[in-house]
């Protein structure tokens, strides 16, 4: 009997409450109507509505407000929405979205430890920023010093010192630019990766001829041969830069590569399947992965 009483009364109370609240809110919706740009409402519908705050706004609605009023012009802030969400918002706002290439870090130095000449014994603080202040750390005043400033700032474990030179792991690189900002010699730049593997200039030495040869066995001497065979290679001082606007998927790099006697032009990135298959028969040195249980990592504890 008791449960029966409860059930009947509960049902009655809830139904009455629902009707009352529905009426009040419906009335309030009309009485307190505020004009809102219909575009903002559409953007609100297009956004995921998760209110995660990843865009830097309090919730999806305030991001929609900022987009609709033009306070914020960056459509790509919404992580959960992804590409489809950007497309939908662009359609609402009448903006065309162009294809965007992922920018990833490229180290413009590939000289291994034994290829760099005139090295001195250095016993100061083991950071590039400190070593860069000391004259004569190594012969080349432009190239990588290999003291891990970029490795320490990387949040994605995507850059490592291999044979004394910083090497980017393109499986992990997200293009956050932290390493480019950390490098005291500014040899890391962001390059648009138009395909998984990119052709880059792997030298930053701005000197000419003999001066380069005296400090490095692989550095660019500024011979300008590559810029004569291709419009894509533009001389910037005594070393070439690549004009990535002209870079196409089908560009033939063979003639350029043949001209370079100093192996300053290299490919970086993730090799395509075809390239992996082409060298599949060759013997590959066994790669040893770091064991995180026994290896001391290079995290630095200070203070």
């Amino acid at each position: 009997m008791l449960t029966f009483v409860t059930v009947i009364l509960a049902a009655a109370v809830l139904v009455l409450l629902a009707i009352a609240m529905g009426w009040v809110l419906g009335w309030a919706n009309r009485a307190f109507y505020v004009y809102v740009d219909p575009k903002i409402l559409e953007i609100q519908d297009a956004l995921p509505g998760a209110n995660c705050g990843g865009c830097g706004y309090v919730g999806c609605n305030s991001y929609a407000d900022a987009l609709g009023t033009g306070a914020d012009e960056d459509l790509t802030l919404c992580g959960p929405g992804g590409t489809s969400c950007v497309g939908a918002i662009a359609e609402i706002l009448g903006i065309e979205v162009t294809e965007v290439w992922p920018y990833k870090a490229v180290v413009h130095c590939a000289a291994k430890l034994d290829e760099r000449l005139l090295k001195m014994e250095y016993q100061g603080e083991p950071t590039c920023a400190a070593a860069n202040l000391v004259a004569g750390f190594q012969g080349c005043i432009y190239g990588c010093m290999g003291l891990s400033d970029c490795v320490r700032v990387c949040d994605y474990d995507a850059i490592h010192i291999v044979d004394g030179v910083a090497v980017v792991d393109y499986e992990k690189c997200t293009g956050c630019k932290l390493c480019a900002a950390a490098c005291p010699r500014n040899i890391i730049t962001m390059v648009p990766f138009k395909r998984s593997e990119m052709f880059v200039v792997a030298c930053s030495n701005d000197d000419f001829g003999k001066e380069v040869q005296s400090v490095c066995t692989v550095g660019c001497t500024g011979c300008m041969s590559c810029s004569r065979v291709s419009d894509m290679m533009v001389m910037d001082g005594n070393r070439p830069a690549i004009n990535y606007d002209l870079y196409e998927d089908f560009t033939d790099f063979e003639p350029i590569l043949e001209k370079c006697k100093r192996s300053s032009l290299i490919f970086v990135g993730i090799p395509t399947e075809g390239q992996v298959a082409a060298v599949a028969d060759e013997e590959v040195p066994e790669r040893i992965e770091a064991d995180f249980q026994t290896t001391v990592d290079d995290t630095e504890w200070r203070g």
């Binding site: 009483v5 409450l17 609240m21 809110l25 309030a28 505020v34 309090v58």
Partner: protein, 232 residues
């Protein structure tokens, strides 16, 4: 004097001794989520005080008239329907659903009102309102009020419910503002990589909770002081 001292006790208990965030660990989501900058944290705290007052007023009304055992409205409905007047009528099973329902719709209503008539106020904390409608700190205040209405021998009045809500809201404001201040300082510290972000925030929250345990026992001292004041 007796009433006043009990009100003071309720207020101090909710704000400091049994702080909602740091003693009961309710309302953690805004406490960790919106505590990166002091000004937004303060706005969030004010919005919580605002909503908690509305919510506890409504929940006291609904509990007193509908949800507590032998509440007048269901008893009246039951007797009009011709039921046995001896039967105990208790609708407290409905408490959760009704609290959430009532809080959510009333906050919606308030948001629409503020947006129309107080645009400046809406700018400053209107955006927080939908995020805290069904926050557990607010639901917790309602449930605390319900607990004190179920025993017919010591029924809480509306004033006691409001004092509890105000105390809880101010306690939340204190906790989240302190947290935001500490986290702003933390940005300048050399935190180990593995603890950055949420990890260090949770550790800070835990240390703050331990610090607030220092208020335990303060209630007895305040009670003695108040009774000494009353007897004089």
């Amino acid at each position: 004097m007796e009433t006043l001292s009990s009100l003071i006790m309720i207020f101090i208990g909710a704000a400091l001794i049994n702080n909602f965030v740091l003693h009961y660990f309710v309302g953690i989501c805004p406490f960790l989520g919106v505590s990166k900058r002091v000004d937004t944290a303060f706005g969030m705290g004010l919005a919580v005080i605002f909503v908690i007052l509305i919510a506890s007023t409504l929940s006291w009304l609904f509990t007193f008239f509908i949800l507590r055992p032998m509440a007048p409205i269901p008893v009246w409905i039951w007797q009009v329907a011709g039921g046995n007047p001896e039967t105990t009528v208790d609708l407290s099973v409905l408490s959760y659903i009704i609290y959430i329902f009532v809080i959510a719709s009333s906050v919606q209503f308030v948001e629409m009102y503020v947006r129309k008539f107080q645009p400046a106020l809406y700018e400053s904390f209107g955006v927080f309102l939908p995020l805290i409608t069904t926050n557990c700190a607010i639901l917790f205040a309602c449930l605390e009020i319900m607990k004190n209405l179920q025993d017919p021998t010591m029924l809480w009045g509306l004033h006691e419910a409001l004092i509890l809500a105000l105390g809880g809201g101010i306690g939340f404001l204190i906790a989240i503002t302190l947290m935001a201040g500490i986290r702003a300082e933390l940005d300048l510290c050399d935190v180990p990589k593995s603890l950055k972000g949420a990890g260090i925030a949770l550790i800070v929250a835990g240390i703050m909770a331990m610090a607030f345990m220092g208020f335990t026992g303060m209630d007895r001292g305040v009670e003695q002081a108040l009774s000494a004041l009353g007897s004089r």
